[in-house]
């Protein structure tokens, strides 16, 4: 068989498998056409956007001078940002001991395996699943969201951190060892400063990530702007749903730009060397 025929046969087999799988999953082309019609209805109901989300809520009575600070947009977004901020900082700090022990160049023996296994286990479950777990454990509200995002941040940042530590050159570590510096001194005075740029970059990335996920985990009752999104979806008030989606989109874009600007400035300075 020539190469050309082999390629044709592979293509036929791939398409055949596609049909089998589609049949197994009952993927109905009619539903897609219906879906298009439903989407059109949704967009018609969702537009124009309901700007009331920027006005003060009727209840409880707004005691602030600027009514915007009593609006759903501000309350939801500020709660999500605060949750993301707390979870990122706590997760970052709590991940450090795990990542130090997990770094292969710092020689913590069997503890390295234990630490890496724990970090992997945490990462197996997405933050949404952790949020469901904590909503059951501590009840509805921001605490469940903060706990879920903190735990996930430990798993996620822990891995990035130990990879950054492993990327530190062996030469300063070796010369510190030879001087007689203890392991904690090497970590504190050699490994942390040498990987500081990476750690900062990871921290900013995680803040963005948690901001996006902070909105999502609100869907299961873990507080933040996701709570309002879930509420209006259930009530079928789609113009408000769309307004909240737009607020989330703009805020994530904003944080993304700030974080990019900070990262650019930070790395440009260090790259001067």
């Amino acid at each position: 068989m020539t190469e050309k025929n082999k390629t044709k046969l592979s293509l036929v087999v791939a398409v055949f498998i596609l049909f089998i799988f589609s049949n197994n999953l009952n993927l109905d082309a009619g539903s897609i056409i219906d879906g298009g019609r439903n989407s059109k209805d949704f967009i018609q109901e969702a537009l124009p956007l309901d700007m009331n989300v920027f006005n003060a809520q009727p209840y409880p009575e707004c005691e602030k001078k600027i009514p915007f600070f009593c609006s759903i947009a501000w309350l939801g977004l500020s709660e999500t940002f605060q949750m993301a901020y707390i979870a990122t900082i706590l997760g970052f700090l709590l991940a450090i001991p795990f990542s130090v022990v997990a770094s292969s160049n710092l020689n913590f023996g069997k503890f390295k395996f234990v630490s890496r296994s724990m970090l992997s286990f945490i990462r197996v479950l997405p933050s949404l699943v952790w949020a469901i777990f904590f909503v059951v454990a501590v009840g509805l509200g921001p605490l469940a969201g903060v706990l879920a995002m903190t735990i996930y941040t430990i798993g996620f940042l822990g891995k990035l951190q130990y990879e950054a530590f492993e990327g530190v050159s062996n030469h300063p570590i070796e010369s510190a060892k030879a001087i007689g510096m203890k392991k904690w001194q090497i970590v504190n005075h050699v490994v942390f400063p040498e990987s500081a740029n990476n750690l900062m970059s990871q921290l900013l990335f995680m803040l963005e990530y948690n901001m996006r996920h902070g909105a999502i985990i609100g869907l299961v009752g873990a507080g933040g702007i996701g709570y309002y999104l879930n509420l209006y979806l259930k009530l079928g008030i789609y113009d408000r749903v769309m307004s909240i989606l737009m607020i989330m989109f703009v805020s994530v874009m904003l944080i993304d730009s700030i974080s990019n600007a900070l990262r650019k400035k930070y790395f440009n300075e260090t790259n001067k060397s």
Partner: protein, 241 residues
Amino acid sequence: MSETVFKETVLELKNLNVGYVSKKPILENINLEIEKGEIVAFVGPSGAGKTTLIKTIASIIPQISGEICILGECCADCLPSGNIGYIPQRLGLVNNKTVIENVIFGKFHKMNFLDVFLSNPNEKIIKEAMDILESLEMKEKANEQVKFLSGGERKRVAVARTLLQKPKIILADEFLGELDDETSISVGFKMFNYVKKNGSSIIFIDHNPARAMGVSDKIFKVCEKKVVKLDKKEQNVEVAR
């Protein structure tokens, strides 16, 4: 004969085998003694195992077998102590710290827990560090980050760190290489002067046999899995090659 009675051995290697894989030693059955105040050079071709030997003496790599005796204390699996100063080939400086912060690492083994944690040395240590930097013409750059320094300046920082440490044995891996002759002479002079003045010893690796012969009391050739002491005639032959 009477002279040898007063000599003090600071480093002794007994039947030492070194390498990264126990079944494949890079150097075998090394036996040598270094006396107090001696300047010793290791010469030999690239890849012969000079750096591996130095790292083993500095307790960075565990030896395969044999003993390393430092100041009379012999051990099969030694832990590093403040008695050894080590200048690796790539200097081992922390790029994101300042010159003075790097130099003060040399005194960490003599500082208390809190001062080390906060990187807060006392006035005496700072003065001592600044004096050493001044002698190496680096005082003006004390507060600059190491990553902004030139190759020669970085080398002087590494030397300053070792001089502040005041180790009994200095291990230097090609610390005179890559410097222009004038700077080599100046940095080398400071280092060797310190050794003679303080009764320390230095083992250095050099690819330039003429330079090594000019400054050292003993030369060892590292080649074909062996460490062989060269006498004066052989040293001349080596240079002639």
